[in-house]
Symmetry: C2
Subunit: 406 residues, 2 copies
């Protein structure tokens, strides 16, 4: 059995994702799709709309055969680390292919840029670093470095978020020396950052979340046409059972409390709290009336919104520089299975001997930093629920087994 | 002008307090009443029902002439430290008398016990310590030590909370060698722990808070007959303006988050987290659905409810052993004035030269530990308010001047 790996967040799973799953299988001729999916907090520094379990169900109902977890250690990171974590896990799962959605849509543009960059890496990094020291944001510094090195900027625009991720997937495969063949599916219509919900069947996850946030009453029904029926049903179910779809605003009182209760040195110890940001974090919180308000006050030319949201996530989850450093320096101790179809299970049996790492089906409590971070992030993710549900879900989380669709 | 000092929490100010203020003045013949009042968190480890400013107004409307703050450093402490802080402040304010309410009601019983105890202190402390090591709570160990030393237990029952405090006021005056004459007013009718609201005009603060908690809609109107009109009006005003009267349940989501987000070693660093309590704190929080539920789960023979509530308060305010130790070892850098009548202001002018410490009228931001603790405790106390009011009140708190009734 040949498997294609994909890296996903499914926040939530929509028709664009369904297209990607179908194309990934078709393009590669794989028998099976393996998704590595972010858990509770996502790459852009946001809580997932609903639990990893509901999102796993969405995936399994729509063509994915196996879902494994991208742990917190990697899920809320800049593209390079995020991609490295995801590719390492997919390689361990024994995938033959990796397929990713991208704005560019042609794999040659990624492989050739990765090769070019290897030759210019040092000069490029120096240029980027220098510009960032002057207060320029990373994406802009990158674009400028391209121009200065007279690299053809048309090779591949690294201003587009999915191109950046794709670039790092291809780079991680090359650096890990994995025998994984990369390919890419051009993104349909929707741009990642698009904010208004279109009438067509394909919309970006951003515009879907926007619609859900804007109108709590009818938001969900307005998005029905852009997602598979299973997603719609699972979102309704989540909202009814747990009273909400998670957004940053649900965590604002906790983040506010965290910042108010923490001395500056403890904020400074937080991962991604660099260059005296702790003063700004505290000062802006004194007057902030919502997460949006705090973020707007925090924003400068130097820091992208996403960068600041990731900082907010690490503040909320109390993740320190020290922990992250230790976690990233430790080889992965296990892979966590979130869900499987019958085909997925057959694949796991067939490939059992090839895998080096244990594939865990229960939450692995213990001393591993990766597990501690995950446990904390999950308990804090569940903190948005009403008291009774929160206690119940925290306990269930550490006992439950992977999703298996009937 | 002669002044009588009293130590108060006014949570809320009721008819029993009015009686005490009147009696304190009458018994001592003082011209003026100075109250040292706990700020946001109280001796039993609870948030105050409403802000220190509203409680200061209640006091000034009912016979108190000056209100100064008992800082967080002393306000949420066992009787000995609480009393020491309060007496030190009253001494600095130049009071001639100190009057306290007590169950015993005769000052000789306090002074004679303090004298007796000085002779037996070492043996007594050893007995108490040994019993506590065996898992017995402090109040019970104390009572047993009395019996064993064949001290007459009828001298003064230290099982009664106001007797304990009174004992420590008298002891602190003696140890500080202050020229303050202590006297006591017998408590009227209500026992401190009484939980049902009586029909008479005097009820305990505990029974009043109980009534307010039980019935959010009509709780306030049921308590009208046991408090002065000004208290009633101020409580109504607070509830309408800030949407709540503070109880522990309002802080439960924050405490839950704090415990979930903190590694064991950070819980262990918290003040009053002794003897491995951090494990119990975390374990019981995993299943707790309310503050009451968590406390019930936490409770053992060894720890009184109050002791555990104080731990909860220090966890919530993120107060460490190290900070408390440093704070308690530092001489008081200032006294903070919360409010004054015209008579109170005259007294301040008259006694200006006698005072050693600055009397501050704005919140003294700065490096002093006592100020840092106060700033944090207050910001966290205000965290129970809705987002917009919270931001507004946090800013106002650090700018406002003392209350002056018209």
């Amino acid at each position: 059995m040949k498997a294609v790996g994909i890296v996903v967040e499914y926040n939530p799973f929509h028709n664009g994702h369904l297209y990607h799953v179908t194309e990934a299988k078709k393009q590669t001729g794989a028998d099976l799709v393996i998704a590595v999916m972010s858990g509770s907090f996502l790459q852009r520094g946001e809580p997932a709309l609903c639990s990893k379990w509901h999102r796993t169900e969405m995936a399994l109902a729509n063509g994915v055969d196996l879902v494994v977890e991208l742990p917190y250690l990697y899920s809320t990171q800049k593209a390079e680390l995020f991609a490295k974590g995801a590719v390492t896990i997919l390689a361990e799962m024994g995938v033959d292919f990796l397929n990713f959605g991208s704005e560019a849509g042609e794999i040659e543009r990624f492989t050739s840029l990765v090769e070019t960059m290897e030759q210019h890496e040092e000069a490029f990094n120096r240029l980027v670093k220098d510009r960032m020291k002057e207060g320029v944001s990373y994406p802009r510094a990158t674009a400028e470095a391209f121009t200065q090195l007279q690299l053809d900027p048309d090779t591949l625009s690294l201003q587009e978020p999915n191109n950046i991720l794709g670039y790092h997937y291809v780079k991680a495969i090359r650096e890990g020396n994995y025998s994984i063949q990369a390919s890419t599916t051009p993104r349909q219509q929707a741009h990642y950052h698009e904010q208004t919900l279109p009438q067509t069947a394909i919309a970006s996850a951003t515009s879907i979340r926007q619609a859900l946030r804007k109108d709590k009453e009818s938001g969900l029904s307005q998005t029905k046409h852009v997602m598979p029926e299973a997603t719609f049903r699972l979102l309704i179910n989540y909202q009814q059972t747990y009273t909400l779809l998670h957004t940053w605003e649900h965590y604002f009182p906790l983040l506010h409390y965290k910042v108010m209760a923490s001395p500056l040195e403890s904020l400074r110890a937080c991962y991604e709290c660099e260059e005296g940001l702790e003063y700004r974090v505290k000062e802006m919180m004194m007057t902030a009336v919502s997460f949006e308000d705090w973020m707007t006050k925090m924003k400068t030319k130097r820091y992208t919104w996403t960068r600041l949201q990731r900082l907010a996530t690490h503040l909320l989850t109390n993740t320190t520089k020290e922990e992250m450093k230790a976690g990233l320096a430790t080889p992965l101790p296990y892979i966590r299975l979130l869900g499987m179809t019958a085909a997925g299970q057959r694949y796991l049996n067939d490939t059992k001997k090839q895998r080096q790492l244990p594939l865990v089906t229960r939450f692995p409590k213990g001393e591993a930093i990766i597990a501690k971070l995950e446990e904390r992030a999950t308990a804090i993710y569940l903190s948005a629920l009403p008291n009774r549900l929160k206690a119940e879900q925290i306990q269930q989380e550490f006992k439950r087994s992977p999703v298996r669709p009937h």
